[in-house]
Symmetry: C2
């Protein structure tokens, strides 16, 4: 990590000193939530969506944020000024706190970090390859700290010559560990899983995009529909819309970024450029 | 936590200062393993079983312990001497390490803590009540840090007037978050789930107990068999054998510690007393 300021429980500390006591429930029991957004040219992108999800995650996991949304925004403003990194990622983590018995929820610890992040506002036409794996994320509508399966699968993903993993469960396609997954079918429908997935902020904003040539919908779809997809892509805060050109070693469409994917990416990036002003 | 020494990465530090940098993969992604055993009168109980499982967990999760079993035992000896707490619990935690990108496995961090723990070597005849909940632990044969569901369910357990939760999945009974679960049936069979559960050290030692009046076996069993159980109990390092007297508000057997449960508890406690010498 770079040397810059980290916010921990009402204090700014240098990142080299930023630590939590080992009684914290993230270290003891993997318990906590986070959210992750970016700034471009000092402007936070989709901040309201991220904060809304952060408070939803905290509430669902019985964690008290301890600040109103306005107070949290002030802290973020202060951090941005102190660090002065215009193009950056910001992660707000809320853990289960210092548990005296190593098990019971205590006053949450909040940690806010900022890292340089430079993104090109254009589509990567090369795309990526995915490999599927059967897994259902637990408490899937919450952005928890649980990436046990994702990190455990890293050697498997590498062995399979893929860039990331796509989870499926009970025959239905779900999501990637850090991104949502979309297909385009022969009816010009753009589809992403509806149930038991994390509702990503880019996913939400892609679902709102309008174009005369296709419609974007959320509904569950199965492995057969994936097989027949004409295009596929993932969405995430750092990837925006990134084409998926192959799954399990089999090419999707013509193995390049599809035309619907490109049009959606253009619309999304327009939206983001608008926020930068 | 008490003020005593904690071992972190080749150093002993006072527990009040024992911390990990926030880039650790337990804080970032909930990634790590641990094991937990006890000493009575300064004697570690079932130590070989715990160390065997710890190395199994580390290996499965792509984590290098960094010490041989003999080296780890020397460190444990030194910690026991430094802290001088004859009746204690010891927890060895191994995390995914300080990840520069917050995602990729690095050199693991090892943390060993010791806490006072005073156990009575006799059965608790009062027993406990459980409530069932559908859940399958991920990577279930590994003692990971993942207790997301367990801690999330604490308010539910309390609302239901229960002491702990019993997981089931696909119609089969599994385990409790920190203990294995056994039933006794009308044929004097003592049964614990075979697949997709953590293989507890007390569970393993109970499976080895011999008695002319009953046999102890591992095989999967369903909710119907649970309904018809004449006795039930849980096993864990801190509970040994603890009777379960009710599930989902319905009494098991006569609502007291059963005779088979008591006989098994006697045999187990004999074994433990033998280790204390």
């Amino acid at each position: 990590m770079n040397l810059n300021y980290v916010y921990i429980n009402d204090t700014f500390v240098e990142s080299a000193q930023a630590s939590l006591l080992i009684s914290d429930l993230s270290i003891q029991r993997g318990y906590g939530i986070f959210d992750f957004f970016k700034t471009i040219n000092g402007k936070p992108i989709f901040l309201e969506d991220h904060l809304e999800r952060f408070y939803h995650s905290a509430n669902k996991m019985h964690l008290d944020v301890g600040y109103t949304k306005e107070q949290l925004k002030s802290i973020l403003d202060e951090l941005l000024v102190k660090n002065n990194i215009p193009d950056a990622s910001i992660r707000i983590t809320l853990t289960g706190g210092y548990a005296t018995d190593g098990y019971t929820l205590a006053k949450p610890n909040m940690v806010i970090t900022q890292q340089p992040l430079s993104l090109k506002l254009e589509i990567d036409p090369k795309g990526i390859n995915l490999v599927t794996y059967p897994h259902q994320r637990q408490l899937s509508d919450v952005k928890t700290l649980d990436y046990l399966m994702a990190i455990w699968l890293q050697p498997f993903i590498k062995e399979q010559g893929a860039d990331d993993v796509l989870y499926h469960a009970d025959g239905l396609i779900k999501e990637c560990p850090r991104s949502n997954f979309f297909i385009v079918n022969g009816n010009n429908e753009v589809i992403t899983a509806q149930n038991h997935v994390l509702k990503g902020v880019i996913r939400k904003n892609v679902l709102q995009l309008k174009h005369p040539d296709f419609k974007v919908i959320e509904r569950d779809f199965n492995l057969q529909e994936l097989e027949n997809a004409t295009e596929a892509f993932i969405t995430s805060t750092t990837k925006h819309i990134l084409p998926v050109v192959g799954i399990n070693g089999k090419q999707i469409g013509n193995g390049k970024a599809g035309s619907v994917t490109k049009k959606l990416s253009d619309l999304l990036l327009q939206n983001i450029r608008h926020q930068i002003g």
